[in-house]
């Protein structure tokens, strides 16, 4: 039972390694979006550091969302998804394997790159640390919830835009807690409450989202 889980996880990582450009696009998107704001707003360090939590979190959110359509699309079009659905394996576990692989490929690089962009936004060191921590806790929830949207829009025309409409409202709590944590530490307050709420939200999505995604996949493949 575990073997199938590991197999799917390894396969997705291997596929990502063979198509490295996909990973790079997500990362570049994050970089570009985050670099546009100073150009639009001006280089005032005080202004930049006050908008940094929100801007960086929104950029991370959009970058993650952009890569969602790819999560199940190729499995759907080449028939691997059918094989996953009829396999004598618990589907939610396979979903978790795919989401984890997606997060490592598309989420983790953003988390690691974020502090460098934070420096450009004149964030102080403790805020940078909280930024990384909040992204680390929050981006898995983005992948988990995004998976539901990706599964629901499989094979639907215009799925790229539709996925944004479905998933972004559900991302709001993550954005509020995540950006709030960074802002709190900037203002010299403890980010603990925000981070715990963020972790709680991620845990809740870990428990519920794989089941919803599995159900959505069955609906979409039918």
């Amino acid at each position: 039972m575990n073997r199938a889980w590991v197999t799917i996880f390894k396969r997705d990582i291997l596929l990502a390694l063979r198509r490295r450009s996909d990973v790079a696009t997500t990362l570049f998107f994050f970089l570009i979006v985050a670099s546009l704001f100073p150009l639009g707003i001006g280089p005032e360090p005080a202004v930049l550091s006050s908008i940094a939590p929100g801007v960086l979190w929104v950029a991370a959110l959009l970058a993650g969302m952009l890569s969602l359509t790819r999560m199940f699309a190729s499995d759907f079009s080449d028939g691997s998804l059918e094989q996953m659905l009829i396999a004598p394996q618990p589907l939610p576990m396979l979903v978790i394997a795919k989401v984890l692989a997606h997060w490592i490929v598309c989420g983790l690089p953003v988390v690691l790159l974020a502090p460098m962009i934070g420096l450009q936004y004149a964030l102080p060191n403790d805020a940078l640390l909280v930024l990384v921590l909040s992204l680390l806790l929050g981006t898995p929830a983005l992948s988990l919830i995004g998976a539901i949207g990706a599964a629901l829009t499989l094979g639907v025309r215009g799925s790229g835009l539709l996925i944004a409409l479905l998933v972004l409202p559900l991302y709001i709590p993550v954005l509020i807690f995540g950006a709030g944590a960074v802002a709190a530490s900037q203002h010299g307050m403890s980010p603990e409450a925000h981070l715990s709420l963020l972790a709680a939200f991620s845990l809740l999505s870990l428990v519920l989202a794989p089941f919803a995604t599995a159900a959505a996949l069955r609906i979409s493949v039918e």
Partner: protein, 176 residues
Amino acid sequence: MYVLGDNGSGKSSLLRLLCGLMQPELGSIYWQGEQVKHVLEVFQANLLYIGHLNGLKEDLSPIENLQVNMRLAADHAEKSDVLDALEAIGVGRCANLPVRVLSQGQKRRVALARLWLTERKLWILDEPFAALDSASIDVLVARINHHLNNDGMAIITTHQDVVISAQSTQVLRLDL
């Protein structure tokens, strides 16, 4: 059992219903006297389904693809076994190339190589003979006959005249 019918007559849909990929609006599907949805795991452990999509990843080699698919289906296969299976259906040469460089017929044969690796009782094959040359069809027919003669079952859709010699072959003709 053969399922015959014109394009769009519902052959593939019937097979997908049987596999549990689609839910019937009405009626139930039984496996050994039990409703499939009640004995889903037993049923799935006895089922091998190859749809009109091959279920192969373009960026992986046939060997990698088959190993993934086997493990997903909770079957075990050594690399040498997989190689033998690919040999048997005549695509042994391509075993380490990425699937995307193979021709349509070669991809189909890679997918069908699973038939040599499995002990599953029930085979559900959607248009297995499509895109195959006559030599491969003969090999495949021989394999299916062997399966049927060993208490296996196969449900196959086709619009070609392929003769499977095993006894108790049934034909279901779907007409609109």
